[in-house]
C-alpha cells in the first residue's frame, strides 16, 4: 500500500491519504482510497454488456452505484452518484466502446468527512486499474468554510458539522480546471474563488501521488 503525508501551511493540509489497487479478483479494476479515517472501496466493471433499454448507440453507458455503510441507498446517494457519473463520463473516452457499459461501484467503508471527494478519488484509481482509456485524470478536494471565515481543507466529519459551508470540487489533470462542483451552505463569491484556488493547489499533490503509484506499480519490481 502506498501512502504519503504532506505538511504544508497550517490549514491547507490534506489528511494522510493512501490507496491500494487490484485488491478484488472479480471486478476489472478495483481500488481503495483512504483520506484520514474516511475509506472507500471502488470496483469497476467494463466495458461490459448493457441492457438494450440503457444502451447508447455511439458511446458507453456509465453507471455508478454508491452503497452507504448502513441501510439502503437513498436520495442523498443518488445525488452523489450523479456527480460521480458525470465526472467519469467527462474523463473516459466513451466513444471507443459504443453499446457497452462501464459500472463503477463504490462502497463506503467508513465516513469521517470529505465523503464525495474520497468517492471520486477511489473511482479514478479504480478506472486506472481497470485500464479504461481516459482523456485526463481527475481528483477531488473538499473545503469547509468555518464560522470565522477560515478555509479548512479535507475536513473531518466533526469539522464538517461545525462549518456553515462545505464545497467539494473535482479538478482535472490536464488544465487544472473545475470539472465538478457540489456545495452546501452559503458563502460569498470571494470565498468560492479562494476555495477553488486552494483545491487546485491541493490537487497537484494528489495527481503527483497518482503518478507515483502508477510508476511504482509498473516499474520492474520482482
Amino acid at each position: 500500500m502506498t501512502t504519503m503525508m504532506e505538511l504544508d501551511q497550517s490549514y491547507s493540509v490534506l489528511r494522510e491519504y493512501g490507496s491500494e489497487q487490484s485488491l478484488l479478483s472479480k471486478p476489472d479494476g478495483s481500488s481503495t482510497f483512504v483520506q484520514g479515517d474516511t475509506s472507500i472501496l471502488a470496483g469497476v466493471y467494463g466495458p461490459a454488456e448493457v441492457k438494450v433499454s440503457k444502451e447508447i448507440y455511439d458511446r458507453a453507458t456509465v453507471e455508478v452505484l454508491i452503497q452507504p455503510k448502513m441501510g439502503l441507498p437513498g436520495v442523498r446517494e443518488r445525488a452523489r452518484e450523479q456527480c460521480v457519473r458525470e465526472t467519469c463520463e467527462a474523463a473516459l473516452l466513451l466513444t471507443l466502446h459504443p453499446r457497452s457499459s462501464v459500472t463503477v461501484i463504490l462502497q463506503v467503508i467508513h465516513d469521517d468527512g470529505s465523503l464525495l471527494s474520497c468517492c471520486l478519488n477511489a473511482a479514478c484509481m479504480a478506472l486506472m486499474d481497470a485500464g479504461l482509456p481516459m482523456s485526463h485524470l481527475f481528483c477531488s478536494v473538499t473545503c469547509a468554510i468555518s464560522k470565522e471565515g477560515q478555509i479548512i481543507i479535507d475536513p473531518t466529519a466533526r469539522q464538517e458539522k461545525e462549518c456553515p459551508a462545505l464545497l467539494t470540487f473535482a479538478i482535472d489533470s490536464a488544465e487544472c480546471n473545475v470539472l465538478m462542483s457540489s456545495t452546501t451552505g452559503s458563502f460569498s463569491v470571494q470565498e468560492l474563488q479562494q476555495c477553488i484556488a486552494i483545491s487546485q493547489k491541493a490537487s497537484e499533490q494528489i495527481f503527483q501521488f497518482y503518478r507515483d503509484s502508477v510508476k511504482r506499480r509498473y516499474s520492474k519490481i520482482k
Binding site: R78, C83, I196
Partner: protein
C-alpha cells in the same frame, strides 16, 4: 429543409446558430425565457404555486402536518421536498419509481433550503420534543423543456410565501393539539434564493436557460443559486467538461442579475394576492 438538417445533425444545427451568437428560438446567449408565476392555484393545499419558464411548467403544493420533532433536533420542525418527474412531462421519463434525475433534484432542493436558511426551522416547532410542523413540498413537473432546477426553486419559494398555517395550541388538560383553522399565519421567509442554470457547449460557449434539446447536446450543465445579499447558496455542476475561473465568474454575475428580476416577480405576485383579498 431546415427541419431535415435539425433531425440529422442536431449539434451542427445548433452550432450554426451559436456562431451568430443566437439560438434556434431567437434568444440571445444570455437571455432567459419569459417566466410567469401563478400562486394559490391548488385550493386543497396549504400553499401552492405554478411557474412557467418558457414551456417548462412546474407546480408545487405544500401540505403542513403535525408530528413529533426528530430526537436529534427536538426544537425544530422540518421541510420535506420531493421532486416528481412523471411520464406526462416528457418521453424521457418512464413510469415507476423516481429516476436518478428526480432524486438528484429532490436532494438539490433540500440542500438549497438548508443552505439558504429559507425558513427558520425553530419557528416550525410548536412545543419542544412534543409537536412540530412538517411541511411536505411536492414539486411536480407538468412539461419538461429544460431548466428544471431553476423552475423548482422559484415555485418552491412562491408556494412557501403563499402558505398559511393555522395556529396550534396544546390543550393543557387533554395534552392534545388543537388547530384553529380560522386563524392562519403566513410563514416568515428569511431569504429569496433564486437559481440560474447554464449549459456549456463545445467546452467554450455558455448559454443561459437551456431548453431540453440544448441540455441533451451540451457538454456540461451548471446551476448557480444566489440570495438577495449576493451570497452564493449553491454552485451545482455535477460533472461534464471543465470550466475556467473567468467563465464561472461570468455565470455568477449573470445569476446575481437574474436574482433581482425573479425577486421582483415573486414580490409582485405575492403583493397582488394580498391586495386582491
Amino acid at each position: 429543409m431546415a427541419a431535415g438538417f435539425k433531425t440529422a445533425e442536431p449539434l451542427e444545427y445548433h452550432r450554426s446558430f451559436l456562431k451568430e451568437n443566437c439560438r434556434p428560438d431567437g434568444r440571445e446567449l444570455g437571455e432567459f425565457r419569459p417566466t410567469t408565476l401563478n400562486i394559490s392555484s391548488v385550493s386543497t393545499a396549504d400553499g401552492s404555486a405554478l411557474v412557467k419558464i418558457g414551456n417548462t411548467t412546474v407546480i408545487c403544493g405544500i401540505k403542513a402536518e403535525l408530528t413529533t420533532p426528530p430526537s436529534d433536533a427536538p426544537n425544530r420542525g422540518y421541510i420535506v421536498p420531493n421532486v416528481d418527474l412523471p411520464p406526462l412531462c416528457s418521453s424521457k421519463f418512464r413510469p415507476g419509481p423516481p429516476g436518478e434525475q428526480a432524486q438528484a433534484a429532490s436532494q438539490f432542493i433540500a440542500d438549497v433550503i438548508e443552505s439558504s436558511d429559507l425558513i427558520n426551522m425553530e419557528e416550525l416547532c410548536i412545543e419542544k420534543s412534543k409537536l412540530c410542523w412538517v411541511l411536505y413540498c411536492d414539486i411536480m413537473c407538468l412539461d419538461y423543456d429544460g431548466n428544471l432546477l431553476d423552475a423548482c426553486i422559484i415555485v418552491l419559494l412562491a408556494a412557501l410565501k403563499n402558505a398559511q398555517l393555522p395556529e396550534v395550541t396544546i390543550n393543557k388538560e387533554t395534552d392534545l393539539a388543537e388547530a384553529d383553522i380560522q386563524k392562519k399565519q403566513p410563514l416568515k421567509i428569511n431569504r429569496l434564493p433564486v437559481g440560474s442554470s447554464f449549459a456549456v457547449f463545445d467546452d467554450s460557449i455558455i448559454i443561459v436557460d437551456p431548453t431540453a434539446e440544448e441540455e441533451s447536446l451540451s457538454t456540461a450543465l451548471l446551476t448557480v443559486v444566489t440570495d438577495e445579499e449576493d451570497r452564493l447558496c449553491a454552485v451545482h455542476k455535477p460533472g461534464g467538461t471543465s470550466l475556467s475561473g473567468e467563465k464561472l465568474q461570468h455565470c455568477i454575475n449573470r445569476a446575481i442579475t437574474r436574482n433581482k428580476e425573479i425577486s421582483k416577480l415573486v414580490n409582485k405576485v405575492t403583493e397582488s394576492m394580498k391586495t386582491a383579498k
